[in-house]
């Protein structure tokens, strides 16, 4: 556990001190658990991150490329194991978002389905308010959940 803490600390430190705020942290292993996403006015193909214990690489993008203003949207996200092993059939994933400064989350519960390619598609995402949101994707496998989070600032 101590080793894990030290590794995370290193990752976070390097990420925090990095000068290029729009670049996904490139520290490996493991990358920082938090990626800073641009605001919704700025389309971006994919937001990527590494789960809290480094087991998974997770990437997501709003279908259509841009998070709409106060309208529901869908998200496609991918989960791969950092050790390149395939995901088991037991794997489950969920996505949610909240506004930590306002003490509330989304007004909808997203529905997640896995498509034929192994990607996950979540419908029913709604970031209804402007401000900072934290988007979380939880991956559950063998009874253990790891979380990956991103900041999304909505205008």
């Amino acid at each position: 556990m101590i080793r894990l803490q030290q590794t995370m600390l290193l990752g976070l430190t390097l990420t925090a001190l990095s000068c290029d705020e729009t670049t996904t942290p490139s520290v490996t292993p493991p990358p920082a658990p938090i990626d800073v996403a641009p605001i919704n006015a700025e389309p971006r193909a994919l937001r990527e991150g590494v789960s809290s214990d480094g087991t998974y690489r997770v990437g997501w993008e709003p279908i259509g490329g841009v998070i709409p203003d106060a309208d529901p949207f869908a998200v496609r996200f991918t989960v791969t194991r950092s050790d390149a092993q395939p995901l088991t059939d037991d794997v489950r994933a969920s996505i949610d978002a909240e506004m930590p400064h306002h003490g509330h989350g989304m007004n909808l519960v997203p529905t997640v389905k896995r498509d034929a390619n192994g990607s996950f598609v979540a419908s029913g995402m709604l970031l209804h308010m402007s401000g900072r949101w934290v988007v979380s994707i939880d991956v559950q496998e063998h009874g253990v959940t790891e979380r990956t989070q991103w900041y999304v600032d909505i205008e």
Partner: protein
């Protein structure tokens, strides 16, 4: 990270139980947050050329200018797939006629009693007054078609499903769906209009009359037939005695129980038929209200000028671009609106609303805390309402709105949350708030400025508001800007109570196929 979102089952980097380590992590995360904030100001490309900005807006950031750019034009009105006659002008005509029809209420109240075209479809009262005084303000129905949720608590997900509530609410119109159907069935003009859209009414609704012969059969003794028909109607005509399915509380409880008992005594096919015809009529109300759309306002001219837009005459908010559409005071108010006042947190975009729900801490009648459960209760209602967008009466239960209803989240923070009202036309619709507590826009601005009359929210509450400490001039500027969101009354005939009659159209040959299918679905269910 700004908030610890861990749960006991989540093995997260943030949940490691080493205090020192956690503090360091928090510090680093705070640094990350700061970096993210710094990044925001460089990511936004303002869609408005700064060279066009008047002096009052020149100090705004790119983000704030981007908020102004989103204020106009509005998107075209979205389709309502849950209502197959949503854009059928014949349905709108029928809905229009019924909107002003006082027969729908035993107290002689029509929809227009509280939604009066002379007052921008409000009644200008703090609390709506129908059969009795309601507990909430009657909002304008102008632009209601642009709302995702209807009602202050968002209890309804379509215009047509909403229309049933005031009709049957004993405090509002005190009517019922059976009477609604009977009025349309028995009024030759309305019935012809209905049948031109939906085909013949289900045979079930005419069966009791047919069983004793037609009252139009001149070969019979008139007096005998009249008496016979009268007695038979009282005993057997399901539409003669008002009936509705839901028990309702209040002073007329016994009457309500009688309504419910009569409803329950009806056989299933009759109840299905009444519901189906009632829903068809409700969808005509919806079709009508989709035509109550406000025209472009001064803000649209102003934003068009800022963008250097070429006006598209077919656009929703087509209006000549004009930088002078907002006077200097309104421009300063606009600057406040998108910046320090923080109004765009909720009143965002071209509709000046996020179409969702917030608790701003307005104290209730107890004088201490909010006491109206509002959205918390509405969630349960809309999810279980058989007339919702996902239900059997919807024409597209699997469309986006139906999906939203199914996905609604119930959580404690919804207590006391009300729908963010649009600010378009706001100057024309006093008084304000869900209970009409503020008589003027000045009162509203004073509240948001000082937060007097609000209570601290509990730990489940949302913390959005802070005291603004505006000067007198700034308050006046905000009011001037809010006034620029209103326009002159429209010349549309739909905004008047009387219209030219709809040209006669041929009846359908057979009963509306969708009605038949819905009856089938009901029976399967």
């Amino acid at each position: 990270m700004c908030k610890n979102t861990e749960s006991p089952n989540v093995r997260s980097g943030m949940s490691i139980s080493n205090n020192t380590f956690a503090r360091v992590i928090a510090l680093l995360c705070a640094l990350l947050c700061a970096r993210a904030s710094a990044a925001l100001t460089v990511c936004v490309a303002p869609p408005i050329d700064r060279a066009r900005l008047p002096a009052e807006l020149s100090t705004l950031t790119d983000e704030e200018i981007a908020r102004i750019a989103k204020m106009s034009p509005r998107a075209p009105l979205a389709a309502d797939p849950t209502n197959r006659v949503a854009d059928d002008v014949r349905a709108a005509h029928l809905g229009h006629a019924l909107f002003f029809d006082t027969r729908l209420s035993p107290a002689g109240i029509s929809c227009a009693t509280c939604h009066d075209p002379a007052h921008a479809f409000t009644d200008q009262r703090a609390l709506a007054r129908g059969v009795a005084v309601a507990r909430r303000n009657a909002p304008s129905v102008i632009d209601a078609a642009r709302r995702r949720w209807l009602g202050w608590d968002g209890k309804f997900d379509s215009l047509w499903s909403q229309a049933l509530s005031p009709l049957e609410n004993p405090v509002e119109m005190g009517g019922d769906r059976t009477t609604l159907v009977r009025i349309v069935r028995d009024d030759p003009s309305l019935c012809a209009s209905y049948e031109s859209i939906f085909g013949a009414m289900p045979a079930t609704l005419g069966r009791s009359l047919d069983a004793v012969g037609s009252p139009r059969d001149q070969s019979r003794d008139q007096s005998h037939d009249q008496l016979h028909d009268q007695l038979h109607d009282q005993l057997h005509d399901p539409l003669r005695e008002p009936a509705r399915p839901l028990p309702r509380a209040g002073s007329a409880l016994e009457q309500e129980k009688a309504h419910e008992r009569r409803w329950n005594e009806l056989d299933t096919p009759t109840r299905d038929a009444i519901n189906l015809v009632a829903v068809n009529i409700l969808k005509c109300f919806g079709a009508y209200q989709r035509l109550l759309i406000s025209e472009a306002a001064p803000i649209d001219s102003f934003v068009a000028a800022l963008k250097g837009s070429t006006i598209d005459a077919s656009a929703t908010d087509a209006r000549a671009a004009n930088l002078d559409a907002l006077n200097p005071s309104a421009r300063r108010g606009l600057a406040l609106f998108v910046s320090r006042a923080g109004c765009t947190q909720c009143h965002r975009g071209a509709n000046f609303t996020d179409d969702e729900f917030h608790n701003i801490g307005l104290v209730g009648a107890n004088g201490r805390v909010p006491d109206d459960r509002a959205r918390l209760d509405a969630i349960e209602f809309v999810k279980s309402n058989p007339f919702n967008a996902a239900g059997v009466f919807s024409d597209a239960p699997d469309a986006a709105m139906g999906e939203m209803v199914r996905a609604l989240r119930r959580s404690p923070e919804l207590f006391g949350q009300f729908r963010t009202p649009s600010l378009r036309g706001v100057a024309q619709t006093p008084p304000y708030m869900h209970d009409g507590r503020f008589a003027t826009l000045a009162d509203v601005v004073h509240f948001y400025d000082t937060l007097q009359g609000s209570a601290p929210l509990g730990h489940h509450g949302e913390s959005v508001l802070v005291q603004l400490q505006l000067s007198e001039t700034e308050r006046a500027d905000l009011i001037a800007f809010l006034s620029s969101l209103s326009t002159t009354p429209t010349s549309s005939p739909w905004f008047r109570s009387s219209m030219a009659p709809l040209p006669a159209s041929p009846k359908h040959e057979a009963t509306d196929q969708t009605t038949d299918k819905t009856i089938e679905r009901l029976r399967i269910k």
